[in-house]
């Protein structure tokens, strides 16, 4: 498991435009592993993205749309890509002009690798 986590993070953090990549325990909202950019706080990113993931998952279930697979939050200064199933989620913080298609591909691979 730790090899899978380490190599997953390594691949993600090397995608152009990725500032930080984390594997997060969705239930506890704590980081399992992380590769962080400057100024980033693993605690904050893990806690907030896990909370957002859980809330969004809850929302889509209440709307009878099944479970949440992933979400992508676009902000003025970047993107937050989060994907996973229940226990572990993959979180990427990316620059505004990052290649999102590539990031999404790697995130999906990461989720598969962690299953």
């Amino acid at each position: 498991m730790s090899d899978a986590v380490a190599s997953t993070l390594d691949r993600l953090s090397h995608v152009p435009g990725v500032r930080s990549a984390l594997i997060v325990d969705a239930e506890a909202g704590v980081p399992v592993a992380s590769e962080l950019g400057m100024g980033a706080s693993a605690t904050a990113v893990a806690a907030l993205t896990a909370s957002l993931f859980r809330r969004t998952d809850e929302a889509v279930r209440q709307a009878a749309l099944g479970g949440l697979g992933s979400f992508q939050l676009e902000t003025e200064e970047g993107h937050l890509v989060v994907a996973g199933r229940r226990e572990l989620i993959v979180v990427v913080v990316a620059d505004r002009d990052a290649q999102l298609g590539l990031i999404r591909l790697e995130v999906d691979r990461a989720v598969e690798a962690l299953q």
Partner: protein, 164 residues
């Protein structure tokens, strides 16, 4: 041990505690000093529960601190109990005046990570208060009981149904 300015401290700490509870989505929160004196609380109704939790929090802090020292583990950071429905977070933080302990109880609407994140923010806010910026003078042990009671009364009075 806290001097007899509990009323003012309760007021000062009210907003930081409310903010913590709101942001972290905790259900109950209690801030005590290392002697078990209640400085602020949110979500409790009965004195009985506050007293018990405050005393146990202070004792837990003392035990964990001693354990950390004996084992050379350094300063202990937090204790987390993940119950089936409820979770407990207990963590100390040091101010120039004294060590304070936060107890937070939360359910499935929050996470350990969120509680820890906003605990750090609460700690920073409290440290920034002038009332916690200087070391306290020693307190007369004879007034210990009186100050404990004063802390409880103030913590429970303003926002509680019984105080209507």
């Amino acid at each position: 041990m806290r001097r007899a300015d509990i009323a003012r401290l309760n007021e000062l700490l009210r907003e930081p505690m409310r903010s913590f509870v709101r942001e972290a989505r905790a259900r109950i929160a209690l801030l005590v000093n290392a002697s078990g004196q209640v400085l602020a609380q949110h979500g409790f109704v009965g004195r009985y529960h506050v007293m018990n939790v405050a005393a146990l929090a202070a004792a837990t802090n003392a035990s964990a601190h001693a354990l950390a020292e004996i084992t050379g583990a350094g300063r202990w950071q937090y204790m987390h109990h993940a119950g089936r429905r409820w979770q407990l977070f207990l963590a100390p933080f040091v101010t120039p005046a004294e060590t304070l302990i936060l107890v937070a109880i939360f359910d499935e609407h929050s996470t350990l990570g969120l509680v820890e994140l906003f605990f750090q923010k609460l700690a920073a806010q409290v440290r920034a208060l002038p009332e916690f910026g200087e070391a306290l003078p020693a307190v007369n042990p004879a007034s210990f009981e009186q100050e404990l009671e004063a802390g409880l009364d103030r913590a429970l009075a303003p926002d509680q149904p019984g105080g209507g």
